[in-house]
């Protein structure tokens, strides 16, 4: 190797060292065009949701009886609804609720499910049996039915919707995390941590959970899509977000009587739901490929 060559080598080495697991995953994700497009869509949605008051052309609850049932025009880009409210503005404000509920319910499910799954996988035996059998019972009830039951039992409202949807997701995360914990627990570095005197808490928090992140992130992205769909469904049934707060599902519910005469009123909220779900699913698949160590070369 000549001097120049060895310098080159140093340079490439430098690029590699310091780049951790996540940087590598990001590198792989960047090559997936579909996933990157989806990521852009999702980021755009988050930005719009945050800036809803600024970007929406009208207040979401501004009623104008004269302008009811308008089809898309330059004045109302996506038309108006039966109360003459601007559909675009309502969709923009509705994204706040959808994303908030989707995100919060998944976080709720990850924290609760993660904790249960980690305990169950790490301690095995009786603890595992008790936790996993209760999860099985929870899983035996269809998620939507469980969410409906919970939502109906409590006062309808944002927090209760989040909990209702989150609870239904808990067993999924508990299972995902338990199985990764079981795999990781069998590796020698856990034994090594024990041999240097690490406590159980330290082993779980520092050695096991960080290594379970990949499947959790994938599951969370896909789960968020499901949660957004669930909140739309609950609202559609009248158990979720209450009017006049705009929510995609309840917007759909409102137009039921007018569906045949004014299809645009259902089309746009429906499209909003579809695009979000689609983007999250594609991103989830992309993340799975990017984070899967088996594809690492």
């Amino acid at each position: 190797m000549s001097i120049t060559n060895s310098k080159n080598r140093k340079a490439t080495k430098h690029q590699v060292s310091g780049t951790g697991y996540w940087a590598n995953a990001w590198f792989r994700l960047k090559k997936n065009k579909g996933a990157m497009l989806s990521l852009a869509v999702i980021i755009l949605m988050v930005v719009i949701a945050i800036l809803a008051d600024v970007v929406s052309p009208y207040p979401y609850d501004l009623q104008n009886a004269d302008h009811a049932f308008q089809i898309p025009s330059t004045q109302h880009l996506l038309g108006t609804d039966n109360f003459g409210r601007d559909i675009l503005s309502r969709i923009i404000h509705g994204s706040r609720i959808s994303l908030l509920v989707g995100f919060s319910s998944i976080i709720f499910a990850i924290i609760l499910g993660g904790l249960l799954g980690a305990l169950s996988g790490y301690y095995a035996g009786k603890v595992d049996n008790i936790i996993m059998r209760s999860m099985d019972i929870l899983m035996a009830i269809p998620g939507m039915l469980l969410a409906i039951t919970l939502a109906a039992a409590f006062e309808p409202g944002l927090n209760n919707v989040i909990i209702a949807i989150g609870v239904a997701e808990v067993p999924i995360y508990a299972r995902v995390i338990r199985s990764s914990v079981l795999t990781i627990k069998g590796q020698e570095f856990i034994e090594a941590a024990e041999s240097i005197g690490a406590s159980d808490t330290r082993i779980i928090l520092r050695h096991i959970l960080p290594n379970c992140m990949a499947p959790i992130i994938v599951q969370a992205t896909l789960g968020m899509a499901g949660a957004i769909l669930s909140v739309a469904a609950l609202s559609f049934l009248g158990l979720g977000i209450q009017p006049p707060t705009p929510e995609w599902g309840s917007m759909l519910a409102n137009v039921r009587q007018h569906l045949l005469t004014y299809p645009h009123m259902a089309l746009f909220p429906g499209l909003a739901i579809m695009i979000t779900i689609f983007a999250l699913n594609i991103l989830g698949d992309g993340l799975r490929d990017a984070l899967d160590p088996r594809l690492k070369n």
Binding site: Y21, E188, A192, I196, N211
Partner: protein
């Protein structure tokens, strides 16, 4: 020389649905400070379980472990944590023994953090990490690298540095070089010998590689199905074996030499099950020298001569019996 570790009649059983596995079944030995005890045997002979039980990663089923004169077979939580500073382990697999999400520095630092070395002074700990990296031959600039960026040899050096971080006196090395290429294996073996000399470390060196164990050990014990069948000074074992299993094992090693001819004992059959073994000689079913008594009772470990112990019915206390070559041999000729 004082005895650092003494193990008496150590047993480790595992309950499984199909019965009790006698992984370690009545093992006794002692190691002097600064020396290396090699433990050899084939897969499933209980050598790894033995190592893990001795440093208390596993709770022994029965028996005594005396470390520096203290019995450590059932320590309290605090005693166990204190023990961790004295006894460490180097693992076999340089890939799975390091947390893939932790940098080299974090990995070596962690034991110091747990035991609050240097009164928890982060700067001093970091300095000590870099010193350790020098000691084991890792370039300091690799401190922020992740394990997956490094090759097997370097990763094994990280494992060694982690084991040394608490300045232990006693280290169990579980096949530390088996996963490495020969040229790297030799580098790591030399490093381990240097460290032993420098820090007066005591090793238990577990391996299936007989030439490695001969190279590094002072004393060797040969294990078969959870029991020690032969124990002696490492050089004597390779000259004279008094147990039929050791005899067969040594004859099976392929020699990297040309122009030598020797007889190889071919063992028929496979290792029998360690699940609820019968109280007879565990090697009897494969033994070319087996006698009726071997199928009736278990042999004890007897002292045949000069610190040479054998567990075989053919051997009597103080009367070594030179095993003849069995009939079932093949001639191996390296042309």
């Amino acid at each position: 020389m004082s005895t650092l570790l003494e193990v008496r009649d150590l047993k480790k059983y595992f309950k499984t649905p199909s019965g009790t596995v006698h992984a370690v079944d009545g093992v006794s030995f002692s190691i002097e400070e600064g020396k290396t005890l090699g433990v050899v045997g084939e897969s499933g002979c209980g050598k790894s379980t033995l190592g893990r039980t001795v440093i208390r990663l596993l709770q022994p089923t029965a028996g005594a472990i005396l470390y520096d004169g203290r019995d450590i077979s059932s320590p309290s939580k605090e005693e166990l944590k204190a023990l961790r500073r004295e006894m460490q382990m180097i693992f076999q697999d340089p890939f799975s023994s390091l947390n893939p999400r932790m940098t080299v520095k974090d990995t070596i630092l962690e034991p110091m953090e747990i035991h609050r070395l240097y009164d928890g002074d982060r700067t001093k700990q970091s300095e000590s990490v870099l010193d350790l990296m020098d000691t084991v031959g890792l370039a300091r600039r690799l401190a922020d690298s992740y394990p997956h960026e490094l090759d097997g040899g370097r990763r094994q050096r990280i494992g060694i540095a982690r084991a040394l971080a608490l300045e232990p006196r006693f280290i169990v090395c579980d096949e530390p070089v088996s996963a490495l290429d020969v040229s790297i294996q030799a580098q790591i073996l030399n490093l381990m010998q240097d460290l032993q000399e420098e820090k007066n470390l005591t090793y238990i060196f577990i391996t299936h590689d007989l030439s490695v164990v001969k190279h590094i050990s002072d004393k060797i014990c040969v294990m078969y199905l959870g029991q020690v069948v032969e124990m002696c000074h490492s050089k004597t074992l390779f000259k004279q074996q008094y147990h039929p299993y050791s005899q067969a094992l040594l004859s099976a090693i392929p020699l990297p030499k040309v122009g030598v001819t020797r007889k190889r004992i071919l063992l028929r059959g496979e290792i029998s099950s360690p699940i609820d073994p019968k109280p007879i000689c565990r090697f009897a079913s494969r033994c070319p020298h087996a006698k009726p008594i071997c199928f009736e009772k278990e042999p004890n470990l007897v002292h045949v001569k000069d610190q040479h112990y054998v567990a075989c019915h053919l051997q009597k206390e103080g009367q070594p019996y030179e095993l003849p070559l069995p009939e079932d041999t093949v001639e191996i000729e390296n042309k």
